[in-house]
Amino acid sequence: MSTLAMSTSRGQVEIKSFLRDRTAVIFTFFFPALLLLLFGTIFGSESTDGGVAVSRIFTASMIAYGVMTTAFVTMGTGLALDREDGTLKRLRGTPMPATAYLIGKALLVLVLSIAEAIVLILVGVLVFDMPLPPAANWLAFSWIFVLSVVACSLIGIAVSGLVKNARNAGAILNVPVVALQFISGVFIHPMSQLPDWLETVASIFPVRWMAQGFRYVFLPSDASAQELGGTWNLGGVALVLGIWCVVGLALCLVTFRWSSRDK
């Protein structure tokens, strides 16, 4: 079997296992959509200064939260769990190369992230009457989405090495995820409501740029007035997410371990 065939075989097994674990499906996968329904319903009728319905802004921003959950949390907890329950040890005893394992995980993350984005967009369109963006914006969506998934996945892999006990992985990984949603313009928008130093902190991490990018895709162009600096700053989005991809990859190469024990 070629590495490619082994990778897709891993991907199938990963997806099958995920779907059969109902807790993961409900609490990880559908949670962002649930939050969107709540936030959109509570604040939805209000309009922002730019005249855009709040529910529409939430829909766009919440895709950043969705990707963070499906990529970062799924990768981070998945690896910690695979290390602990013997999955990695088992695979390492077979001729399967490590890359096939990681590509398999990446396939799971990709499928989940795409499905997550579709669910959130559907909620936006069906429940909150969000219009779909013009065709040109989908190109921007593609690269922002891919960079977001790759950056979050790589950081997830790197962080999984810090998790000592897989049972705690979900709880540990969700702390940075939720904290970043509050300071990155996902739960609280516009970000200009935050103290300046907190804006600076948020701008170091990817979520702010992911959310800003997705708002560019789904909101009218003049809604950029609500963003920090008053522009969509797509160059900044590409730059920061690109840097996180490189940093994440470097961290992975340094920290990746097959086993939770000392080698």
């Binding site: 079997m1 065939a5 082994m6 075989s9 097994v13 099958k16 296992s17 059969r20 674990d21 695979d82 329950d85 013997g86 999955t87 040890k89 088992r90 390492r92 005893g93 077979t94 001729p95 399967m96 190369p97 097959w258 086993s259 000392d262 080698k263």
Partner: protein
Amino acid sequence: MEAIEVTGLRKTYNGRDAVAGIDLVVARGEIFSLLGPNGAGKTTTVEILEGHRRRTAGDVRVLGEDPGKAGSAWRSRIGIVLQDADDAADLTVHETVRHIAGFYPSPRKPDEVIELVGLTAKRNDKIRTLSGGQRRRVDVALGIVGSPELLFLDEPTTGFDPEARRQFWELIRTLAGDGTTIVLTTHYLDEAEALADRLAVVADGRIVAEGTPATLGGRAASEARVSWTEDGLVRSEQVADPSDLIRHLVTSGADLTTLTITRPTLEDTYLDLIGATR
């Protein structure tokens, strides 16, 4: 060529020797058993042979290659039965065996392997729902599905009921009959005695004895204990060759209905061996 050749193997953790200089040769087609108390270094040794752990010093050849450097071609020739895995809980037995089989160049048929380990009735059950012993049999299936030349079994029958254990022994004999070399670590001395062609006892990171089950630790040469009843008292004597004593007892007219002649069991020998190092 030998299946395994080890000289001067050492593994140090935080300045403490977990393996303190082991020499070992396992011939092709042999069932070799490694015995020893918990913490003696047998799992560490086996994990080094499997390529799961790095060694601190020593020379190791497994199927002619250094397991620390060997690649996927080498991995396709060995099989590993894990001791405490808990993976693939949401997959069925057949899905898991078929999935792992796909990584090997010439695997056994998944259904044949499932039959061999006696899980045909559980073929489509999720692994999560299996009992502990059935779960271990899945591990055995995954270890042999790649048709390995060399199979590592680390305490494989923990949690098996006696019948499952006998069936498992038969399976190991079948595999050995087909020419598979088998390295078995176990706590059960009857298991080692029933299966192993040769065994070694590890204590405190060293091999303290090596031999066949019949000769380990000078077992064959050790004295026999003869005991009988004389004038209502139990008498016993230890002798190298009991013939003269028996002849004497027969002619002296002693009561021989309670006569026993015993040599140390493998367990006695083993306990002596590991006790000697404490």
